[in-house]
Symmetry: C2
Subunit: 301 residues, 2 copies
C-alpha cells in the first residue's frame, strides 16, 4: 500500500535512520538523501536520490527529516555551510528525529520558523529493533498542523505517536523517558542484588514482585536480563550515558537538581571503567556488583 | 462460604491486622486474639476470643499469626515473657505477616523450629485498602508443607500469594519490593519535575511515556498523584522510611551497598523535615521541588 507520494529529504542514514528512511521509500515517497558515508546499498537500489549537500536535500524536499547522533551534529546539518537552512523556502517542514537538547531545540525551531518554515522535534524510543520493525515510540513537539502534516510519515516509522506539546517538548519527554528508564534499572538492580545477597533466588523474587506496585517494564525486561546475565545490547550503555548527559546538562541550564540521575550516570561511568560501554544498559547492575564484591547468581558465603 | 474451621491465633489487631483477622472470622475460623489495646468492637462482636497473653493465644491455637509494627515487636511477642514460644507445642505453625528484618526472621524461624513448630514469614503489600478488600499481595518464606497448610488463610486475606523460598525469603522479597517502589517514585519525580521545569506539561509527558520502557505501576499511580498534587495517603512516608531503614540495616549486615536506596531515604527524611511524615510516599517529589525551588504545576519563569 502506498501513500500519496511526498518529496522527503532524509539526512542521517545510520543504524536508526537507514531503516526509517527505508519504510518511507516502501510507502512510495520520493526520498532525497545526503550522507557523509556511502549510501547503504538497499537504499541506493530502492530509488533514494543522493544529494551533494544538506542544502541540496532541502532544495528538493518539502519535508526534511534529520536523524543524527547529537546536538552539535543537528546544528551543523541545519545551520552550517551548505546546510538545510540555506535550502529552505517558506512552507517547508523540518522534522528532527534525533535525540538532542530540548533547550537547543527551541532555538533551532525559532531559526527555522524565521525562514517561514515549521519545525517538529520528534525523538524516538525503541532502538534499532523498533526502527527496523516500524514500532518506534515517537514523542513530538511542535504546532498541531505541522504534526498532522508529518503524521503519515510517523505512522510508517512507529506505533506509539504522541504530540506532547510545543517545540522542545518532544525532546523533553524523551529526556524524561531516559531518566526514568535508567533510574528504574538502578532500582531493580539494587533490589535483586540485595535479594541475592540475602540468600533468596532473585528470579523468584522478581516473579513475586511482578503485578504489584514494584511492577514495571524494566523489572520485566531488564530484571530478566540481570538474572539471566544477558548483557548483549539491546540499548548500549554509551547511548544511555549520552542521554543522561543531556538530562544533566539541561538540568544545570534550567536550574533543577537531579540527584539520582547524576548518581546513576556515575554508575554507568563505572561500567565504562570495566570496559562496558557497549554492554546493554541492564548491565548497570555490574557496577553495584563491583561495590558489593558479589554477583547476582552467586550464592552468598 | 465457610472453610473447615481452624483454631487460629491472631496477635496485632491494628489498621492492617483487624480487617485481616476479620476475614478469617468471616470464613468460619475460631480466633483467639491478644492485644494491648481494647479489642475493635467489630471483632469482639464477631466472636473472637480475647486472651490475657500471647502465650495463652499460642496454647489455644494451632496456627498463630502475628501482624506487628517492627522487628522488636515481633521478637517481644514471640520470645518475651508470656510470649508465643512459651505456649507452643510441637506441630503448631507460626506465621509472621509483619514486615520486619529478613535476617532476624531467619533466627526467629530457627528458634520456633527448635520447639518442633514450623515458621512462615509472610509479609504483605497493598496497605489498608488491600487488607480491607482482601486483595493483599503476600510474599511467603518457609517450608512448602507449611505454606500449603496456611494457604487457605492467605487466600482469605490476599490475592497474589507467592512462596518465594525458605525462611527469610518472604521478608527479603518485601524489602526488595519497597526498594523498587521508593526508587521508582524518585525516578518518576525527577523526570516529571525536569519536564515541568523545561516548560512541558507533566501530565502529557506522563501520558506519552506510558506504554514504553518507562512504564510502571508507579508512573501510572504515583505519577498521577504528583501531577494532581494528591498527597493524602495512600502509603505514608514514615512507613516507607521504616522499610528503607530495614533495607539499609540489612544491607550493612549482609555486606552489600545500596547507594540509591540510601539517597532516597535522605529525600524521605527531607520530606519529614517539611512536616510530611504522614504524606503519601509520592510526595517524595516535594523534596526535589525544594531543591529546585520549583513545583510541578508551576510554569517556569
Amino acid at each position: 500500500m502506498t501513500d500519496s507520494a511526498l518529496n522527503i529529504g532524509f539526512i542521517g542514514l545510520g543504524i536508526m535512520g537507514a531503516p526509517m528512511a527505508g519504510h518511507l521509500l516502501e510507502a512510495g515517497h520520493r526520498l532525497s538523501v545526503h550522507t557523509r558515508r556511502p549510501l547503504a546499498p538497499a537504499l541506493a537500489q530502492s530509488g533514494a536520490t543522493p544529494c551533494a549537500s544538506a542544502r541540496a536535500v532541502a532544495e528538493r524536499a518539502d519535508i526534511v527529516i534529520t536523524m543524527l547522533p547529537d546536538t552539535p551534529d543537528v546544528e551543523a546539518v541545519l545551520f552550517g555551510a551548505d546546510g538545510v537552512a540555506a535550502g529552505l523556502r517558506a512552507g517547508k517542514l523540518v522534522v528532527d528525529m534525533s535525540s538532542i537538547s530540548p533547550i537547543a531545540t527551541k532555538a533551532f525551531a525559532q531559526r527555522v520558523n524565521a525562514l517561514g518554515c515549521d519545525y517538529l522535534d520528534a525523538p524516538v524510543s525503541g532502538g534499532e529493533v523498533g526502527a527496523k520493525n516500524a514500532t518506534l515510540s515517537i514523542m513530538v513537539g511542535g504546532p498541531e498542523a505541522a504534526f498532522e502534516r508529518a503524521r503519515p510519515l510517523f505512522e510508517r516509522m512507529g506505533k506509539n505517536i504522541t504530540r506532547v506539546g510545543g517545540n522542545g517538548d518532544g525532546q523533553t519527554a524523551k529526556v524524561a523517558n531516559q531518566i526514568i528508564v535508567a533510574l528504574t534499572i538502578e532500582a531493580v538492580a539494587e533490589a535483586l542484588l540485595f535479594a541475592a545477597k540475602a540468600g533468596a533466588d532473585p528470579a523468584r523474587v522478581r516473579q513475586a514482585l511482578m503485578g504489584g506496585f514494584a511492577s514495571s517494564k524494566v523489572l520485566e525486561v531488564h530484571g530478566e536480563r540481570m538474572v539471566q546475565r544477558r548483557f548483549e545490547p539491546g540499548f548500549r550503555i554509551e547511548l544511555h550515558q549520552k542521554d543522561l548527559a543531556l538530562a544533566l546538562g539541561s538540568a544545570r541550564a534550567l536550574g533543577v537538581s537531579l540527584p539520582s540521575t547524576a548518581a546513576t550516570q556515575e554508575l554507568f561511568n563505572a561500567c565504562a571503567a570495566q570496559g562496558g560501554r557497549a554492554w546493554d544498559h541492564s548491565a548497570l547492575v555490574k557496577a553495584l556488583e563491583a561495590l558489593a564484591h558479589f554477583e547476582i547468581g552467586q550464592r552468598p558465603a
